[in-house]
Symmetry: C2
Subunit: 344 residues, 2 copies
DNA sequence: CTGAAAGCGCTAACAA
DNA sequence: TTGTTAGCGCTTTCAG
């Protein structure tokens, strides 16, 4: 049995352990491990060898406290099951890959309270920046963002007043343009199917823009219906059936997302409804999924991945210079007519 | 102009600032903010008021360093676009909600190198536990996990040797049972359609189990095809077409996931192929999406959410006691025959 | 119930 | 090229 002094077996290794094992000062070990300053090749190798041998993993907590620098970027989104957000996150990850910055994800479930506590929690780790979905936040959240002293990028939406930078699309405009295209194609009895979520501001703005677009042509929404929870595809089917039963003379349905739109499309094909002749359909997002459907649903690309990339690039750029200052990036979603709007 | 001494305007607030603003020692402020020890109601209120007034956000970096405790749980998954993982993450978030622990997510893109660096990065923040997908890791990763001195839970899969705890299903068995069900239903010319990802070990194990199940009846896979990237639904269509063209007498196709299975199903319905009479189909995962399809694809539930919950519960339990010790939880996926396997 | 002192493990700044 | 010193902002511990 060894009689060595073993302080606390579960304590993890420190720079000091590596220092002792390699016979080099802690400071030099630190320099080697961070590739900083000039270190002779011999020492470097000795240190690296010792660190590897011991299985040393640096303690970023101590490092961050000492250097007052944290390589974390807080990313806050409302949901992961929406399919849209994972893509945004991918864009962020990708862009941050070689910047030395690390994204940390938080989810709010579309709840302002959750957003507040997730934000608070994340800010308490003093990240280098925050990327947060949406422009609507509680007063407390806005205050936290404002006082954080780090670059903030609000994403997805540009219809409103950002705290700092913003990258997104105008959902009002997206709804508006879809309405114009639909009216332009000659549809007149138009219904809307969407999510009930009171805090999905973007879906709300799309609907408002959509109604404004219809109003230009003197048209009002003929019917509308909202859902929450469950399989979106199935909901799309069910709601389409319900709304058509209630308002049989509809000649168009605008869905607040592609998933329910796809459900609606499948329903119509099942029932042998003439799409887009008798009934036109459109969704929103431009998700991959649509490529595999029997017919291409009309939609509008939400530029999800690019939004993530641009937002990450802003943070990465700012974190170099320490500068803060609102960048305003509005991307333009492209209308894809697909096969579910007649061409007139 | 004010002549006050303003140290660094961008430096964030410290306990000291709150201490000065409230006229109470830093120590007492700290106690109030952590709800620790006895503090008189008056002091408590004064401190809380001052903290709120200033907009103080505690510095967890310093707190963690001093207390040697970090309320973070590292969660490492291969992908977010798979639909499966967001559900696991939801399960984890939900379970951790009121434990004071916070999940932090990392994504590896099915790359061992990425896994290694993400793991290293996360361990350097000294989390309270690690939840990581899969049992296959590089030697370096295994070593890191082993030496971390914190509870580790490997999830999704139980076919192999865990480092510490494990929560998942047996993918071999899942494949095996699906094979038995298919053979039992009288199918004989069976094909497999899957992902090419060399590092998707679970898909591989399912296929191996599947082949073993067929072998019991003296059957070999009649054909197989692999894909990577792109819209899974579309790939499912294309690959189904391709494999049926190449091997027209197939009477069953087993897909490595529900998405491509759904694509295949839509293809068959389009082409008027008699499902499940002439051709049977089955997928894997039991995703929500299937509920909205014109016909219910046979599948097997992967218990995604529950896996997340159980894994999180293990970490939460361990972090109280500081104990480490392998828990072994094997969940049993349920075969759902749906409408795409004939009942014989 | 409250405060003072001593670090946590690392890095900035300076000295050798 | 390397080492020394002094904290980073908080919590632990112990003393009032």
């Amino acid at each position: 049995m060894s009689s060595k002094v073993t302080p606390d077996p579960r304590r993890s290794l420190t720079l000091r352990d590596v220092s002792e094992a390699s016979g080099v000062s802690e400071m030099t070990v630190s320099r080697v491990l961070r590739n900083r300053g000039d270190v002779s090749e011999t020492t470097r190798e000795r240190v690296l060898e010792a660190a590897k041998q011991l299985g040393y993993v640096p303690n970023k907590i101590a490092g961050a406290l000492a250097s007052q620098r944290v390589n974390l970027v807080a990313v806050i989104v409302p949901s992961l099951s929406n399919l849209v957000f994972p893509e945004v996150l991918s864009g962020i990850s990708e862009e941050l890959e070689d910047t030395g910055l690390q994204p940390v994800f938080g989810v709010t479930n579309y709840l302002e309270d959750r957003e507040e506590s997730v934000l608070y929690e994340m800010l308490s780790w003093r990240p280098s920046g925050v990327i947060i979905a949406g422009l609507e936040h509680s007063d407390a959240s806005r205050a936290m963002l404002q006082n954080a002293g780090i670059p903030i990028v609000e994403i997805m939406d540009v219809d409103g007043e950002p705290v700092d930078s913003v990258v997104g699309i105008s959902h009002r405009r997206a709804g508006l343009e879809m309405a114009r295209a639909i009216v332009g194609a000659g549809y007149r009895r138009i219904g809307f199917l969407g999510t009930k979520m009171p805090h999905d501001h973007r879906a709300r703005k799309r609907m408002e823009g959509f109604e404004a677009g219809l109003a230009e042509a003197g048209i009002e929404l003929a019917d509308r219906e909202f859902y929450s929870g469950g399989s979106a595809l199935l909901k799309g089917r069910e709601m389409t059936e319900a709304i058509l039963k209630r308002t049989p003379d509809l000649d168009f349905i605008y869905y607040s997302n592609d998933m329910i739109g796809a459900g609606g499309l499948l329903y119509c094909l099942d029932k042998g409804i003439d799409v887009p002749g008798k009934l036109g359909l459109a969704g929103f997002n431009g998700v991959d999924l649509l490529d595999g459907l029997p017919r291409r649903l009309a939609t509008m690309d939400a530029c999800r991945r690019e939004i993530g990339q641009r937002a990450a690039a802003i943070i990465a750029g700012r974190s170099d210079t320490g500068l803060i200052g609102g960048a305003h990036v509005e991307l333009t979603p492209v209308l894809q007519l697909g096969d579910t709007i007649r061409s007139r």
